[in-house]
């Protein structure tokens, strides 16, 4: 465990990438192993959940509201051309629940929380705080990484629920800018288009998003090795890599659900 990130292997970008991926896989296995085996650092997990989850709500909420509103306004002309304004709520809600809600929320989460995890852990690494835990027989991995990964895994889904619900309100406003549609009617229209096969993969996906964001940003932070400059690099690459992971997972989940349904 006393691995300070000396992941030196064969040179070359591709080799680096594979080494990185291999290390990340090992890291993931460690997280899962320690999450299952040891008694959890429950208080720290709650603290991280509060910071990562609840504190992200305003940003997620505002973005979600605007997404719902804008999407509705943008889709309206097309639907109006088809003479199917009545389908607008359903259309927007399906788009939000299936794709836009989870992905936008995950990206915001990556921007806000992954960078935080990356910077925090790497600065703890650089200032030897992680060593200080380790040397006193406290498992920093369990305390710092497992709690954060768990918090991210569980908070992204919760945030996505809020995001979807708030987008809903945005969309309702968007519909009502032109038409007068009562909220019950709007709900009815929306839910008529929504099925379990929309909800289930979309929900599974959010857990994967959270897990990936947590794992990647903690990995980047935990294994910094370039001093103070490493903090910035870790924060930056946490966001880049976890955003990319969000899209890749999204693609895979969409393909998988296509296959399964």
């Amino acid at each position: 465990m006393a691995d300070n990130g000396n992941h030196s292997g064969p040179s070359g970008k591709l080799a680096d990438f594979f080494t990185d991926l291999g290390n990340l896989t090992g890291f993931t296995a460690d997280v899962i192993r320690k999450a299952l085996k040891k008694k959890p650092e429950f208080i720290e997990f709650l603290r991280q959940s509060y910071l990562a989850g609840y504190r992200s709500l305003p940003l997620v909420g505002i973005t979600a509201f605007i997404m719902g509103l804008v999407l509705t306004l943008q889709m309206r002309p097309v639907m109006a051309d088809l003479g199917a304004e009545a389908w607008l709520p359903g259309m927007v809600i399906v788009a939000i629940v299936r794709e836009i809600g989870p992905v936008i929320t995950a990206l915001i989460f990556a921007g806000r929380v992954a960078s935080g995890f990356g910077a925090e852990l790497s600065s703890m690494r650089v200032t030897e705080q992680i060593d200080a835990m380790e040397v006193s027989g406290i498992d920093p991995f369990k305390y710092l990484v497992v709690t954060r990964v768990l918090a991210a895994t569980l908070m992204v889904p919760v945030l996505v629920i809020y995001s979807d619900a708030i987008s809903f309100l945005g969309s309702f406003l968007g519909v009502n800018i032109q038409d007068a549609v009562s909220f019950p009617l709007f709900l009815r229209n929306a839910f008529n288009s929504l099925h379990f096969y929309d909800i289930v993969p979309a929900t599974v996906k959010t857990f994967l998003f959270g897990f990936a964001i947590g794992i990647i940003s903690c990995y980047k932070g935990y294994y910094t090795n370039k001093g103070t400059a490493g903090v910035g690099i870790a924060a930056n690459s946490s966001v880049v890599a976890s955003s990319l992971a969000v899209f890749v997972i999204d693609l895979l989940v969409v393909q998988l659900t296509e296959l399964m349904l």
Partner: protein
């Protein structure tokens, strides 16, 4: 520590509310798919289900009363559909109700429509099998409607032409009708045409009355059948008419032999009157249709009230506008014919 406790509480509320929203969503979707309300399983056997899938709605009197819960192939010509019907709707569905397959629009989902039975029969029980009526394909109906309206416009123009000539050309009256059988034919045919245009008129009026294209045209299979039959008749009859009038127009001998019998003058006059009424009716039909299509086009009220399905509205629109166009061009054609070679032929004969 109070701050920590507060944070803990906020986090708790945050997660709790999230779970509540999620649960409500699941519940709402679930109730829509009748997962959480008590229901009764009944069956219907079709030869073709037109892409019906599990989860499609079941409608009774226009109300969603359940969903399709299973579809099984029994044999090459039999597909057994299991319907999950809300318990509270069951008492109103009688044993002799008929199940058919409709759609929520041409582009929309398929639905099972249960046409109410009669009160003499007992109400449904779980495991009952409903009578099934194979649905009418609305696309075919519309296509036939289109063909027949095209035909009728051609026919009516020919008829207009003939009757005009009969009325105007005194010279023609000199060589009047001898073939009574043929005249009788014309008479009968034009009467039929008259009836059919009345039918069409009726239909378009009903549509205009806002009983709902969706409700009527799609849900009411009886009506669909009627429409279907009408248009089929129409095609046949108008083809007949076309043949006759064409012959008359060509003036092949028929014309010479035709108009000799003065006793039939009255007959042909009556016939021409029929034809006039028919064409006038046709005009009314087209005006009704025009009105409807205009309303559809402007999207005012009607579309939201009657047609939630835009694609269907679109295809009705095109059909009706073509119908309209057919009538307009028919009128034009008749004008052209009037000035055409034929007329000059008659005038020459007249001059002789």
């Amino acid at each position: 520590m109070p701050a920590k406790t507060k944070h803990r509480m906020i986090l708790g509320m945050f997660v709790f509310l999230g779970i509540v929203i999620f649960s409500v969503t699941i519940y709402l979707i679930g109730t829509k798919q009748n997962l959480f309300t008590p229901n009764v399983k009944i069956f219907a056997v079709f030869t073709d289900v037109f892409g019906l899938t599990v989860g499609n709605n079941v409608r009774f009197c226009g109300i969603d009363v359940g969903t399709v819960s299973d579809i099984k192939i029994l044999s090459e010509k039999n597909v057994k559909v299991e319907l999950s019907i809300k318990t509270d709707a069951i008492p109103y569905i009688h044993k002799n109700s008929i199940a058919t397959i409709g759609s929520e629009g041409l582009m929309g989902n398929k639905t099972i429509i249960i046409i109410p039975g009669t009160l003499e029969e007992r109400s449904l029980q779980g495991g009952d099998t409903l009578l099934a009526s194979q649905p009418v394909n609305i696309d075919e109906v519309l296509l036939e409607l289109k063909t027949s309206t095209h035909n009728i416009s051609v026919v009516s123009n020919n008829l207009i032409d003939i009757t005009r000539r009969i009325r105007n050309g005194e010279g023609i009256f000199g060589m009047l009708f001898t073939d009574s059988e043929l005249t009788g034919n014309i008479d009968r045919v034009s009467q039929n045409a008259n009836m059919i245009t009345k039918n069409l008129n009726d239909i378009s009026a009903r549509v205009k009355n806002g009983e709902g294209i969706l409700g009527k045209l799609l849900a009411d299979t009886v009506f669909s059948h009627e429409l279907n039959k009408t248009s089929k008749n129409f095609i046949e009859i108008s083809e007949n008419l076309e043949g006759i009038t064409d012959k008359i127009n060509r003036g092949e001998g028929v014309f010479g032999k035709l108009f000799t019998d003065t006793s039939l003058t009255h007959n042909i006059y009556v016939t021409s009157q029929h034809l006039q009424t028919s064409t006038e009716d046709l005009q009314v039909v087209s005006r009704n249709l025009l009105e409807i299509t205009e309303k559809i086009n402007s999207g005012s009220g009607l579309i939201n009230k009657l047609l939630t399905d835009s694609a269907f509205a679109g295809s009705v629109d095109t059909t009706f506008s073509r119908l309209n166009k057919g009538i307009v061009s028919a009128t034009e054609t008749s004008e052209a014919i009037k000035k055409s070679r034929m007329l000059r032929l008659f005038s020459k004969k007249n001059n002789k």
